[in-house]
Point group: C2
Chain length 477, copies 2
């Protein structure tokens, strides 16, 4: 958007927010829901498609009616201005420029949480998180993160001291963008993204937008000197996209046909990006492809070099550039800080200091400036507090789902052989049946229990990381 | 859009059409309008901003309420499917694939015209054209076109027989796309497109979309071997864009701050594309720029060569590739045919034959296939019958406005000297004041009378073409 469009965009978004809120809270919706809920047939079987839809429509309607229209419009205006202020502040690397906007947004988020109602024994964060991942609470997230953090820290420390880290030669290779693009499009096709029902384009920040299983649009990005950046972004977004394409078309535009929540969505992107895309078996297939797409430019690289480059672990200050292991520490820092902001245990003014201290303590890195510190992510400027943990929950679900898929599909050796042969359809088929087809008929917790037989646990992710990374670094598991 | 999204898109558009129609026809709007119209102050002065807005809101509301909601939804579905059918048929160059959709669309257009009401002594075409250019009628268009056609035909015939046509060497030069892009961006900036309040991107079919004077988005396109294609597209869209940027911001989102209609909009694009961009004076400035942007690649071209290349006249079968003179014949053919379709003087089945015969008769070209014949334009597949003549009316207005501007700004010599020095601000300033600032406070006719002192006439366009083209072809005016 050109700078001159800012005010008008703010008004447009505020008008849309008001219209959407008016429709969502129309008293007739409550009447319709009550009528259906009292029907002896429509809601009798709680597992029926109708009952699923009624439950979610009730959830959405009740939640929407708790928010005053004025607050909805205020929040829309504040985040519209906030995004612009954030972008300018990040450009100037000056948190002070963004602080007043963020203060306003945090205040409105607290109002919003109070309007939704803080659950018994819970906190404001929970009321907001419910909008991204129903059922997620700060206490629940903290309980999952607590055992994960020391084990990740221990793993990262061991890798940092390893005498023979894998080479990063592959990710320092300058490769022409058109060749990179041809390569990642072929990978997208091979793993199962359906281009008849989707597109892949380019943007600064990759994303997946799906309005219907027949029209799923992804973007990726390209770095001159690191094809793994484009590959990882593409496989990640394809994971989101294949989930959207796998949702039941016959239930499109209803909760029954929608994604469960952001954590399960993220589990699908991470599974393809990490469990598949960074595996030795995947590179058995992908490595020979390099010759086709890049010719002589990659001929000096052996299998170990490409697998190693995809799995280098190095603490840094930028979340979206983080490796598979340190990534989760970035999330934990954000979770702690946004929780403190909402509980008024941290003031917006003190955010940069708290951020930088946390990075020094947990990742051992010195944050050089605000742009690479607490201004790096757009989320808070959009009012999205309560969102970040879904990324790490997604990582946990992806590892746990992948273990279940592997067991169901004949074990690690079988799945590895399939990947090495470029056969990803069995895995996608399993995901289609067990994760995609159910839509929102189960909560994330219930889906996890049904699919894996266990509640969500940090063990599979830790197992996955340790069993893969330690040997690559010449260390014992 | 991926093919899989087609049905869902159709449903989305139909739902939006229905919602928009519901709001436009809300009975409360009629009450509000009646109250305001009876106010002794609000509408007392018919030239006041309020009176202008009330008149247009009344016009829009009355027009919307004449259409049954079911017809609006039907038309949305039919054109949504129609665009897809058209694209597939054009790809296959097979009109038969599109014919059933077009038949349905023409039938719905006839229904729509009947719902709007055919004006006394008028025809169905008029009722539809009112939506694109208020006040435009088929009889009125025919009366303007009648004297234009033989004089254009005569001019084109003289040019075709000229012994020394200008060289087309410049438009056969292959120039790198990134250099072309830098060049056209500089031209856009120089003529006055404000990049603080707009963007320029790339698309297959160039367009201008403006939602507010502060956010005007243009696209252009690039041909490897014809930089004039990109230059013409860019200047054309900049003309649309500078009109949008020049509309009064304080009246944004009301008729008072909106463009008059499509003809006046097109007059602004054509004025910059043709009256400016194809003039010898413009090239006095632009020619030395070529050295900066293309270096040695263009050094063999003298001033006469670049001006000549911009002004080659050659009948062909594609409208959007047509030169300034033959372009209007393409429009006249479309007008005659769509009028006949709406009057049921021509059946959809007979369209390709009638099209090809008209091209042979009026332009002397043989249409090789449907793709380059009656399938070349998207308009009818969108239900836009009654639209095409606004393009030629825009050409006529542009020539007439330009004569008025030239007289007001000190005459041809003065304006030429400004262009040659890269000074386009005086012309833009005149357009801002006389054409842009009034918004929709006057009709096209009234604006033309006020600005030029005359009703719309074919004379200025004919003068412009004859006085420029004949000497370039070594002929006497």
């Amino acid at each position: 958007m050109p700078p001159g469009g800012l005010d008008q965009r703010g008004e447009q978004l505020a008008a849309l927010a008001q219209l959407t809120h008016e429709r969502a809270t129309d008293p007739r919706v409550a009447d319709w829901l009550a009528t259906c809920e009292q029907s002896p047939t429509l809601a009798a079987d709680p597992t029926s498609d109708t009952a699923v839809n009624l439950r979610w429509w009730r959830h959405q309607h009740d939640r929407a009616t708790k928010l005053p229209a004025a607050l909805v419009v205020e929040m829309s205006r504040a985040t519209s201005a906030g995004k612009a202020a954030w972008a300018a502040a990040r450009e100037a690397s000056d948190f002070g420029q963004f602080a007043p906007s963020l203060k306003r947004i945090v205040d409105l988020c607290r109002e919003e949480a109070d309007a939704y109602g803080v659950p018994e024994g819970g906190e404001r964060w929970d009321a907001l998180a419910e909008g991204y991942e129903p059922g997620m609470t700060a206490a629940g997230v903290a309980a999952v993160f607590a055992p994960l953090r020391p084990r990740l820290a221990n793993l990262i420390a061991r890798l940092a001291d390893a005498p023979t880290p894998p080479s990063d030669a592959f990710t320092r290779l300058k490769l022409p963008r058109n060749q990179q693009e041809a390569f990642v499009r072929e990978v997208a096709r091979a793993i199962g993204f359906d281009f008849e029902r989707g597109r892949l384009d380019v943007s600064t920040h990759p994303f997946c937008s799906g309005t219907h299983p027949g029209d799923v649009r992804l973007t990726t990005r390209f770095a001159d000197d690191n094809v793994n950046d484009a590959l990882g972004s593409t496989m990640h977004e394809c994971g989101h996209g294949m989930y959207e394409q796998g949702l039941p078309t016959e239930h499109a535009n209803t909760p029954r046909g929608a994604a469960v929540g952001l954590s399960i969505h993220e589990s699908q992107s991470r599974l393809w990006e990490n469990q598949v895309g960074r595996s030795a078996a995947f590179w058995r297939w992908a490595h020979p492809q390099l010759q086709t797409f890049f010719g002589d430019q990659t001929e000096g690289l052996d299998h170990a070099a490409v697998v190693g480059a995809a799995n280098r672990v190095a603490p840094g200050c930028i979340r979206v550039e983080a490796d598979e292991a340190t990534y989760n520490l970035h999330i934990m820092i954000r979770f702690t800080l946004e929780r403190a902001l909402l509980n008024a245990d941290l003031s917006v003014t003190d955010l940069p200091g708290a951020w930088n201290a946390a990075y020094q303590r947990d990742l051992g890195v010195k944050v050089p400036d605000d742009a690479r510190g607490c201004l790096q992510d757009i989320h808070w400027s959009m009012g999205a507090l309560g969102y970040f943990p879904t990324y790490t929950l997604g990582n946990l679900y992806s590892a746990q789902f992948f273990e279940a898929a592997r067991a169901a599909l004949g074990g690690a050796e079988m799945l590895d052989a399939q990947f090495a042969a470029g056969e990803f359809a069995p895995l996608l088929g399993w995901l289609r049946e067990h994760i995609h087809a159910p839509g929102r008929s189960l909560t994330s917790d219930a889906l996890c229990e049904r699919v894996t037989g266990q509640p969500l646990s940090p063990e599979p992710l830790i197992r996955h990381l340790e069993e893969k990374l330690l040997p690559l670094y010449g260390l014992n598991v």
